[in-house]
């Protein structure tokens, strides 16, 4: 003889109903199951089949718990009383929460979160995605660990050109293979008073003399400072600017080298 109350009690679990209604609900649902079971047996079903059919009436016990509570009390079942997979009653939810909090307590994890591209935020690789404070923190870590790539990252993403130049110096000193970042830094120094892009371009030329891009940078740097005063008066649409630049050896010679260089690596 099946103990249907026991079956229902196990399925429903605790349900914080006021005024002893919990036992009433258990009794009533058990009677529904028992009556269905007896009817199925009377109609010729085996006991196991009758039990299966009877239990099939309540396939989602968790939903039933919630609906019974809402119907009796007039309010939703509190989340801490729910038994769903994300319910706070589940041990694994607390374990996951503890692990998440442990990660958040790690400074390096919080730092890593800064570079994640969250919705509504600019692309993480955009320089504006990082605060100056965050970049300083990254740079301090690079200094401490003597990690050239970290410093190169700061050099390439720091909107403060002066800070970018300093970080680039440190990165290249630690790892000359990172000399390619000079290409970015040489552009940064255009706007930095007192800084000259030419030493950075010379370093690039010494490091990768066969790269056309180096000479393109040189040609650009040679005429950039004179742009407003000398070149702006020419009309690019009519070819005046092209002819004027071709007559300027500081631009033409590096451009010739650009086109004769064996490879282009930007």
């Amino acid at each position: 003889m099946l103990d249907w109350k026991k079956v229902v009690r196990e399925k429903v679990g605790s349900l914080p109903l006021k005024g002893g209604r919990h036992e009433d609900v258990i009794d009533e649902l058990a009677q529904q199951l028992e009556s269905s079971y007896e009817e199925a047996v009377a109609n010729g079903a085996s006991e196991s089949e009758a039990k299966r059919r009877s239990l099939a009436q309540f396939s989602d016990w968790e939903k039933l718990r919630s609906e019974v509570f809402r119907s009796v009390e007039g309010t939703p079942l509190p989340i801490w009383e729910q038994n769903g997979i994300f319910s706070p009653r589940r041990l694994h939810v607390w374990i996951a929460l503890a692990v998440a909090l442990a990660f958040l307590a790690l400074p390096s994890f919080r730092k890593a979160l800064h570079i994640l591209p969250f919705p509504g935020r600019k692309d993480a690789w955009d320089t504006t995605a990082f605060s100056a404070e965050a970049l300083q923190g990254v740079e301090r870590t690079g200094d401490k660990q003597k990690y050239a790539r970290t410093l190169a990252y700061v050099a390439l993403h720091n909107p403060d050109d002066h800070q970018a130049v300093l970080a680039a110096e440190k990165a290249i000193a630690l790892d000359p293979q990172l000399t390619w970042i000079c290409a970015q830094v040489s552009h940064a120094t255009y706007l930095e008073p007192g800084h000259n892009p030419k030493p950075w371009i010379d370093r690039l030329k010494a490091w990768d003399p066969d790269n056309a891009y180096v000479y393109l940078l040189e040609a650009d740097a040679n005429v950039y400072t004179e742009w407003e005063t000398r070149w702006a008066k020419y009309n690019a649409a009519t070819g005046d600017l092209r002819r004027a630049l071709a007559a300027e050896s500081h631009w033409r010679i590096p451009m010739e080298r650009t086109f004769s260089a064996p490879h282009v690596d930007t």
Binding site: D24, V25, D27, E28, L29, Q31, Q32, S35, S36, Q57, F58, S59, D60, K63, L64, E67, V68, R70, S71, V72, E73, G74
Partner: protein, 112 residues
Amino acid sequence: MGKTLDRELKKGSAELLILALLEEKARHGYEIGKLIDERSEGVVRFHVASLYPLLYRLERRGWVKGDWEPAGGRRRRFYRLTASGRKTLASQRARWREFSGAMNRIVEVRLA
């Protein structure tokens, strides 16, 4: 809009079915489920998992009252209509007649 109307119709119809069945006499949940199935000749299927929460909701609203009573050698919870439930039944029945009448007038129109 369509979904809301459908949900409201189903919800209202379910309440009306139960209140109507309890008008004749007090009944327990198992009997109500069986009666809906039998009287509609299997056309209206009522999930048992929805029946009990609905009975508890009607009880909370004061439209029905449940009491444990002996029946067939066991205790059953019998539900009976309250005075408030009778008023609600009358109102819901009138609305149902109005609605089904309107539907019939549209659906049963024959071209002369």
